[in-house]
Subunit: 382 residues, 4 copies
């Protein structure tokens, strides 16, 4: 009810604030027998953590995960899996000057309106710090879908300000391309179009120097997903994926397939034509304007989503605002904020999409994995 | 788990197919004492029903609701409220020709992949027919939020194909403007910019004549919403609203506030400035690029959302496709489909948004309505 | 939140009152392909309905079910299944005399305290009438567990007042024994010990003539249940079964296996000894004091539960009470009430137990049906 | 779905095993502003912990709680509250001898059947160790109901073996009586009838010396509970309380009010008569055979429940069993187990009952706290 859980069959519940002891996630529903180590968790946490490159916030947080339960001898036990990431870089200082100031674009005012009081030392529960344990849970989800059916989720930055990446085949983009340049150097902006990547970095750097920030968009692609995942009415997989992405901080828009482009299209140019693979007899579509989902259920085609992410609200330049009392004031955020959220948004978005896919896979197993024999027999008997 | 429920405190569960006996919704969580009649339900059902104007499908469905429970002497009793809408216009005919054909853009193939067999007489559970009972539930939600805090939800068509409406102040649009033209004639396309409305009608009509369909977008605005609704992490109200809209058929994108426009903006131009109303001491923002929600929690400013709706997939012109066996085939949908979904999408979108607001209001009451006295006392004591 | 749903993977949601148009259940999560007809539903509804014998209430209710959705060509489609049972025997009369009277042992006062007003024409939502649709849902659950793994649920009356049945082997009792006597006559009290059954009938009849009612107990036995159903902590299957039975009207106590008898036992005499079936290598216990569940998870042994059911609160004799105003009054319930609830409780208890088993089976399929191959391979590799 | 969460509006999710790093609970739904310190948590944890007296297990576990989130400046913030209790007494040793042995009365076999493998170093997730964090969550629930409406929950041991306590007025028993004898010495068996307490201690000690264990029962009483909590159908408060108690290890039976005693009663002697308090106009019942709940909703009378708890399954004497392979074997549990669970069961039972009451209170606030003004006005207008 208070919204700290997500998913049904693969269900995560989180707790933690930016300036408290740490963040914790309990993952309920992980099947027994999945290999899992702390090292696995570190890979994506490293991609999300502050201080990883010059274009992200320079806060130093180790983000070292501890598995508290649910793993025995390197494999999941089927019981609830808890992961703790302690906070280590909360600089102790005097917060009395910002205690009652409402930072523009932040949840300070909303929180006060809702709860009557709040942890004013930072974003508290609304800080993006809580996404660290989402990313950890996402690693478990990614391992599950890969082991179960070879599913993969890869995200990348497709736009920053006016700089758009040119990505011809979203489903062909690899994690390696997103993370590394051909010369082995890190792809710090996580855009597979390297020419655009360079311009994005330049733009982000320019904003940083100007004491400003910049928005952008990410594309998330899931491949190897079997047809049949998702539910026909409210839990359409497009609806759950949208909720997952909108639950991330700073997301103002989500679309899939042709997305908002459909507004100007006619049905005859929009519909994807079904075809049958001559050799395998497998049914697919010639084009993928439907982004891998029809009627809210996967078709077996790649799932392609895009999310719009607003520019960071915390700015080192002076902004006008008010205090809790209504008194006018100005605020200038002291350093160490991301001039552009997108590079660190990529692993968060991957995590949430993987969690939805793991959840719907387990749901499918429960409901649709049954009576299969009966159905096959009946089909054979006809 | 199978996704036929939506909401937590105000929770709807639905059942029904296009060619079965009817559709039913159970609404769980309606507080006792809310006035409700069948006549109330009819108002929005009339706005959703087929055959209401020349630019929508010409199927004739009465959509007559029956309240099966939860209302006594004209008021809700606090127990579960069930509403039944029987199907009346399923023409009995021979379906053997389309039994194994996969209609492009429809869920036929997805359903077969998921369930192994399906009701081939129409969309079955994937038909938009199921939205009739959502609209009925939406009426209850609208009444609840209006009675509780004067909340209102109004939607309208803001784009069809290339025709964009010019709506200066979304929060000023009234239901009356959406439904009626100044001359008393019905505003059949439900666009408050009458000049644009005329061009939209023309465009839809042109598509209809060409045996084609056209996409569009709707804007949904909620006003009178108190600050503090929504949960900080997964059940951000933006996330639940997005899920609600994406759960409607044909929605390919959702955004709020400045939406995808944020991608090109800098933080300094994007942030809305907080101000305090001098007289009432109330805190608000000067602009509303944040669309009424910060940190996933309402700010008291109008909530503004937009949804992209794809062109109807059923077309009276011939389309290429395959049969279940993989064999190539063509399909031509026989008449009576909407050339543009948008005019009938408006009440559906309003219903889903109202349901989310009613749900979060009751959740707020449960969690945040408590300890208020304690908080006030404490505040007073400081 | 308002408690009109039960179960997770096999989830029922109900609505309806005693004096409204009817009762409806939506079952969400039924796998596709299960054969189901209205005739199937009638079997257990007939066992629950009023007027079936001289020892139950003489109200005449047809309890005719209508399947509104979720079944096509005689099989479930995998989408939500709705069943409607209309009320037919609400005699229209003047209720003004009982409008504000609190019937002893009933929920009239509780409802007023909770909701502020209530449907005073009968029990409203608290009437046992709502169990009709639970019984219908139970039929679907019974069919599912029988088809999936040969599971069966049989209940019977094991005590009425001081008359205790002597049932040596609960798991050997058949539905036929519960329903019919060897001479083909109906076993109207549903007790398989026929000698005790005769004395129960006599006792019930004596109470009926005295304008009184009598309590009793039922035993519910599930056989053919695979080991491994149930969850380790909160959703122990014993906990879900207890909730299911306690959710039925008039149940004041539930126990399983040796139950309250354990209070006086020592560990050395209580523990059931594990053995291995020499031929099949299957592990079982020599005795079944654990009632088929250890650690909240099934062991493969028969599940044996008992429920205590209070005497009917409505009595044709005069009882003291108060009005809503606090004014003293007397009440005498006019006719047609069950002198003993137990014979009609049997199908209700079976239904609820079957629903829990179906639910946990589908949950098991989702969580534990995965990675099995991986586990087997690993086991083989060792 | 995997059952590691309990409650809806006040919802706890737990993780942890007996031999892992620790146990953690996330409590979701705690209203903001509730005073809470680690010291508060210690009180009940001390009552639950091993080694507290000579009649419980002599394991030494500190059970030191750490609040990871959700509390700021000594008060809850309204966001999710996480509490971690690390394990400290897992003696490292060789488990190879018991790795594949099925301990009688334990969940070893059930777990293997369910998950395919298990943490064999102890009970793992089925160990009563997980109840430590339930007790911590119970403290939060107790504080909430006390602050909100003066509600209190007190439990005590009412029977051990054949020794029954004589407690005339359950609602008059105080926490002080349960914890301390008049001479200030601890009441180590937690039975308020001191004469019975002495005999219980004697019996438990006798069992301990004989290498055996003994069963018993506890009574749980909640006072100060407002009328109107609980839902009419599936979430009857009796059903949720029963589930809560049955979810605790070793509980084989639960009853409330007159409980199984109702089986032999007639309606005329069973029904409690309603009366109105002359001075306050408040409605109550003369007797409390209904245990404070009618129609599954509280009546304002004290809630009285009883739970039957089986004798500890782990015994220092030799017991027959089998290995995973089916091979026969014997097992003798090495020391440090409770000869009787009851004294430590008391705080666990209190915690679970308090959690259900806190949950239903918040649910009531959400659903029934609304429209109150409307109802009052309407009532006034009549």
């Amino acid at each position: 009810m208070a919204g700290n859980s997500f998913g049904q069959a693969f269900r995560i519940t989180t707790a933690g604030e930016s300036h408290g002891p740490g963040n914790v996630v309990i993952i309920d529903g992980v099947p027994a027998g999945l290999p899992l180590t702390v090292e696995d968790l570190r890979v994506d946490l490293e991609r999300r953590r502050p201080g990883q490159s010059k274009i992200v916030t320079q806060r130093k947080e180790a983000d070292e995960p501890e598995i508290l339960s649910g793993v025995f001898e390197g494999r999941t036990t089927g019981t609830s899996l808890a992961i703790l990431i302690r906070n280590t870089d909360q600089r102790s200082r005097d917060y009395s000057d910002i205690k009652d100031l409402y930072r523009p674009g932040h949840a300070d005012y909303s929180f006060d309106a809702k709860y009557g009081f709040r942890d004013y030392r930072g974003g508290g529960r609304s800080s993006a710090r809580e996404t660290s344990v989402r990313v950890a849970a996402g690693v478990v989800a990614k391992k599950l879908i890969e082991q179960e059916f070879g599913g993969r989720v890869v995200a990348y930055v497709c736009q920053v300000g006016d700089v758009k990446a040119n990505v011809e085949s979203p489903q062909a983009v690899t994690l390696e391309q997103v993370e590394k340049r051909p010369d082995g150097e890190p792809n710090i902006v996580r855009c597979p179009d390297l020419e655009a990547a360079d311009r994005m970095i330049e733009l982000i750097d320019e904003c940083r120097k100007a004491g400003d920030s910049i928005g952008g968009a990410a594309e998330i692609v899931a491949t190897g997903i079997p047809a049949g995942l998702g539910e026909p009415v409210f839990d359409k997989i497009k609806a759950d994926l949208a909720k997952a992405l909108f639950s991330l901080p700073a997301v103002l828009g989500v679309e899939y397939g042709i997305g908002f482009g459909c507004v100007r299209m006619r049905g005859s140019e929009h519909n994807d034509v079904f075809t049958a693979d001559a050799e395998q007899g497998e049914i697919r579509t010639e084009t993928n304007r439907h982004g891998g989902m029809l009627g809210g259920i996967t078709t077996g085609m790649p799932i392609v989503l895009r999310a719009a992410v607003k520019p960071t609200s915390s700015l080192p330049q002076e902004q006008k605002t008010v205090r809790q009392s209504g008194e006018e004031a100005t605020i200038r955020t002291k350093g160490r904020h991301d001039p552009c959220v997108l590079p660190r948004f990529v692993p968060m978005a991957e995590a949430m999409v993987a969690i939805v896919l793991a959840d719907h896979w387990l749901r499918w197993r429960g409901q649709c994995g049954t009576l299969t024999a009966a159905r096959s027999n009946e089909a054979a008997g006809q």
